[in-house]
Each structure stands twice: as C-alpha cells, then as structure tokens.
C-alpha cells in the first residue's frame, strides 16, 4: 500500500450566490432536488471523502451531472470548495494564497481536457511548452523538454503544425504531452479520451498505461465509460448526484456493487474479461498435474481455452512461477453463469 497523495475530506460544493448559507442544511441531509427547488442552488458535491494513493490511477466515474468534473477541478482549485479540505502531500491546498496556488498549479499538477483545449494560435511545440514558458524557464531547456515529450507521444515531425491541422487523437496526444512537460506529480485527466473514436481511444488508453509504467504519476482520471474505468483504474470511485457511492478496485465494484445505481452501471460489463483469476483463486492445495496452468493475473476470459482442456480445474502460478493455488471447474462455470444474468 502506497502512501496517500491526495486526501479529500468532507468536501462540499454548492453552486449559487449564497452557497455558504445553505451548507448546514445540506449537511443535515437536504437533498439535491430540495436545495434546487427551495433555494435555487445546485448541489455539486455532497460530502466527498476520498484518498488517492501515490502513483496510482484513480478513476472517478459517473454520468453527466454527477459532479465528477467538479470534483477533479477541486484538486487544482479551478473551482473553489464551499466547504471541506483537499490536501496534497499533506498540504491543504484550499488554504493556499493566490501566488502559492499558481506555483502549485505550475509544479504539482498537469491537466488534460475533454475537448483538448489546445491553444489554437500556437504551434505544437509552443503548446507543449506552455507550462514551461509560464514558469519562465530557460528557453533552450524548455524546448528540449518539450521535444522529448513530443517524441514520447509519437508526434515527432509535427512540432511546427497548428492544432487544427491534427486529428483528434493527435491533438489529445499534444494535450497529454503538454500536461506531462512540466513533470507534475499529479495528472488530472478530465474525460480525456471521451471525445475520441473507439479505436483511437483504446490506443490512447494503452499508451497511457505504457507511459504510467515508467512515469509513476498519480493520475486522477474522469470518465463516464465503465470499460475505460475498469481498464485503467487501480481504484474506481463512483459518483451519483454529487455523492460518492462506492470506492474500490475493479473486482469490488463488479462483485459487490454498493447500491442499485452501481449494480445497474456494471450490469452489462463482460465480467470474465475484467475479472482476474486471482479473484476466484482457492489458495493453497495441491498442484494437479493433469490440469493446465495459468497465471494469477490472467483474465478469466483468457483462461477459457485452458478450462476447456482441463479435467477438474486450473493450477495457478504467480509472476515468479510459484504455485499459489487452484481454481475448480465448477467455480468458473458458476462465474460464467452469473455473468449471463
């Protein structure tokens, strides 16, 4: 378990001119609808508590209007909280003054936007350099760093093009390079891949996971797409109507949905594709030599051919080839049946 990088405590956000006035009513349980009809204020976030682990990908998922974009904007304080605290590395960023907040944004966070939000009047190189030039870094140094990231995202040769000369996927790679160029600890990605077509989206997801292997950033990733959430997230938080309804890893979300909302959300997910062998593993026991052997981190789907061949079940090994347990055939049939329901 890594240490906590971002800690969100009792965070409330009410949109409206007199938001402070109604905070106590909300704390006493006034609902979003009641607040809207009675006082014409919108409840954006309702008592959010969330710890984001260092170097992990934290996905925040919800439908539109669930408050996920509002939540991510509290991390770099593009939106001021009505109440509550957000600490990063133990520092309460809701208390930062103007100058410190600018410094925080320049050094600690990078952000990628749903609709790219590139600077249309600047070429790709200058776009990627933006964060560096804001910090008034040495020019040749910042060009070098920008070129490094342009190469990393596979856009070498496009430095002098303008954003509208690139396709959507390429533009978002510029957005990613721009966010990474300042080498921030935290990467905030607001529906970063939602505007891309499915094939490119998968590409970008793979690229992000590949980069993350070496970068080890703390990534907060907003999405409304459950498959994306399950693919990317080390942990997944589900928001509904400004409330955090569940926070857990992919297995927990799939197998133990906290309420009907989450259950509906995960209903159509292809479980055997997401669930790994280790989630249904019976630890210990004896290795049965007549049975095929699979890895703990394989998805159940990938093991299906092996299951068909097997007599009674599968032998399971870990990354170091040590035998860790077995999975019986019946258990797998069970899971397959459940995912049909």
């Amino acid at each position: 378990m890594n240490k906590t990088k971002i800690k969100i405590t009792n965070l409330y956000k009410i949109f409206g001119n007199n938001s402070k006035k109604y905070i106590s009513s909300v704390r006493d349980g006034m609902s979003k609808d009641e607040l809207l009809s009675k006082y014409n204020h919108v409840l954006g976030l309702d008592n959010i508590n969330l710890n984001v682990e260092d170097q992990s990908i934290q996905v925040v998922m919800g439908l539109s209007g669930s408050g996920k974009s509002t939540l991510i904007r509290h991390i770099n304080r593009l939106i001021e909280p009505t109440e509550g605290t957000v600490t990063v590395d133990g520092e309460d960023i809701t208390k930062l003054n103007k100058m410190d907040l600018l410094e925080f944004r320049r050094n600690k966070t990078g952000m990628v936007f749903q609709r790219f939000a590139l600077f249309p009047h600047q070429n790709i190189l200058d776009n990627v350099q933006f964060g560096l030039s804001i910090k008034n870094l040495d020019k040749s140094d910042s060009i070098e760093r920008a070129m490094y990231w342009i190469e990393k995202v596979g856009l070498t040769g496009f430095e002098n093009k303008f954003p509208n000369q690139l396709s959507g996927g390429m533009q978002q790679r510029v957005g990613l390079a721009r966010a990474l160029a300042t080498d921030p600890d935290i990467l905030l990605m607001d529906e970063a891949f939602s505007a891309l077509d499915p094939l490119i989206r998968t590409d970008m997801q793979d690229q992000l996971l590949e980069l993350q292997k070496n970068l080890k950033k703390t990534i907060m990733f907003i999405t409304h797409d459950l498959d994306e959430a399950l693919k990317l997230g080390d942990r997944i938080s589900i928001l509904n109507g400004g409330k955090l309804v569940q926070d857990g890893n992919a297995e927990e979300i799939l197998l133990k949905p906290a309420d009907q909302y989450v259950a509906n959300f995960v209903k159509d997910v292809n479980r055997i594709k997401v669930l790994k062998i280790k989630t249904i593993l019976d630890q210990g026991g004896e290795r049965a030599n007549s049975n095929p052997t699979v890895n703990v981190n394989d998805s159940i789907e990938n093991c299906l051919p092996a299951i068909l061949e097997s007599q009674s079940g599968l032998n399971v090994i870990d990354e170091k080839n040590n035998f860790v347990g077995s999975v019986s055939k019946n258990k797998i049939i069970d899971i397959l049946q459940k995912s049909k329901d």
Partner: protein, 279 residues
C-alpha cells in the same frame, strides 16, 4: 435658465483652464505637425515607395500594390498630394492614438462587467451624437485647429476598437482559458499569451473600422480648421465646384480602399491558424 447657467459655467471653465488643457495636448500637436511636414516635405517618390512597401507588407498582394501606385500617381497628377499627405498624417495619428487608448479600455471592459456597463453607454453617445454637438465645447475649450479636429476624429472613431477589443477577448474559448489557468498562468500571462493573441483578428476588425470612421470624419474636421482633403471638399460645396469636390472625394475613397484592404488582409493573415488546412 438651465442653458444659461451651463453655458456660463463652461465658458468660465474654458477661460480658466483652456490654456492648461491646450498645453497638455502640445506634445501631440508637435508630433502631428512634425509627421505632416515629414510627409509633405520629403520627395514624393520616396513617400510613394514607403507607402507601397507598407501596402505590400500588409497585404502581400501585388495587385493592391499596383492599384495603390496608380491611385497615388493620379492624386499627384491632379495636384492633391499635399492635402492627401495632411489627411494621411492626421488619420495615422488618430489611428495610433485610438489604438493606444482603445485597446487598454477594451481590455478593462472585458475584465469587468461593471466597467462594461459604465463604458457602453458612453460609446453609444460618442457614436450617435452628431459630431457638431461635441465640436462646440471642444472648440470653445481649445479653439480652432488641429488638436480639436484630432479630438473630434478620435471621439468618433475610437468606439469600434474599444467594442471589438472587448468582444474579441470575451469570445476567447472558456476551455482554453481554463487550460491556461490549470497551468498556473497569472493574469498578465493569460492576457498576453492567450487572450490578446486569440482576440487579435477581432481587434483588427476594430482597427479597420476605426480607420474607416476616421476617414469619414475628414470633411467635418476640416470645418474646424484641420487641413487635408476635407478642405477642398468643403470649398467645393460652398462654391459649387463639382469637379473639385469629386476629385478630392475620390482621393478620400482611394485612401479608404487602400487602408481598408491592407488592414483587412493583414488581419486575415493573423488568423491563418484558424483556417489552416490539414496535410
């Protein structure tokens, strides 16, 4: 009663402070005179060449450059060179002052809704009030001459650049601004790196309008003693010299077309990134 007291108060005010206010404008006057003399006294081929180079740099159009050459030669041939240079100098100075004053005012307006609410009605008055009305106090205060003419032209011509600067900055994509915020840009960095560059095409449309309106004021300004193409037009009206009026009028039109085309195509080039084609 009301009229008398206001007029009286203003008369006293202008008697008392007229000289001081005039002194404030002295540097502008010196510059204006210097610029006019420079244009008039330099040999005409030199000025023509300079104008053509500016036209070409601004528009990158060889046709417009040739057209400008023909227009300038005709103006010289019909003996309107000096008046034209006077007009160019006052238009030039008015435009620069309008830009210098108008853009900061426009930025202030875009920054605050309150400033906008305060300034907009003033701009409405400046644009709709018949120019003769505000010429009266200006002339009372500063007498007849270049400076009152300059003020009258600026009052009439500055609103478009203020409005369009404000509009251009307000039109900048909110998401792009949010991105600038997210990277920790401060107010000045946002203004100079994001807002102004993106507003520039709109601001240029404002500059273009300002130049056109300044040219339109040339005749009226000539009534309070501004030299230039307006004076012969005025003379032609009072004496019914049709040809004289027509020629000088056409010279104004020629200037207007040159200024307009150059500033427009320059503005268009600034937004090339918007229409850049994919490769």
């Amino acid at each position: 009663m009301f009229r008398k007291s206001v007029d009286g108060a203003y008369r006293n005010f202008s008697r008392e402070y007229g000289d001081t206010i005039e002194a404030v404008f002295d540097p502008v006057l010196y510059f204006l005179v210097w610029f006019e003399k420079l244009l008039q006294n330099s040999p005409w081929p030199l000025i023509t060449l300079a104008i053509l180079i500016l036209v070409y740099l601004g528009s990158r159009s060889i046709y417009l450059t040739i057209g400008s050459l023909i227009a300038l030669l005709l103006i010289g041939y019909f003996g309107m060179w000096e008046d034209t240079m006077s007009t160019v100098s006052i238009i030039g100075v008015c435009t620069f002052m309008s830009i210098g004053l108008g853009i900061p005012i426009g930025i202030a307006m875009s920054n605050s809704d309150r400033a906008r609410a305060a300034i907009t009605p003033i701009l409405d008055v400046m644009q709709t009030m018949p120019s003769f009305v505000y010429l009266i106090p200006v002339v009372m205060l500063l007498g007849i001459g270049k400076i009152p003419g300059l003020l009258a032209v600026i009052i009439y011509a500055i609103p478009p650049i203020i409005r369009l600067t404000d509009l251009g900055i307000r039109e900048v994509d909110k998401e792009v601004l949010e991105a600038a915020d997210a990277f920790g840009a401060n107010k000045a960095q946002k203004l100079f790196r994001v807002q102004l560059p993106l507003a520039l095409p709109t601001i240029f449309a404002g500059i273009n309008q300002t130049i056109m309106m300044a040219l339109a004021m040339v005749v009226i300004a000539s009534m309070i003693g501004v030299k230039g193409l307006g004076q012969p037009v005025l003379k032609a009206i009072t004496n019914q010299y049709f040809t004289m009026g027509l020629l000088n009028g056409l010279a104004i039109v020629a200037l207007a077309i040159i200024f307009d085309r150059v500033s427009q195509s320059f503005g268009k080039r600034l937004q090339q990134h918007r229409s850049g084609s994919r490769e």
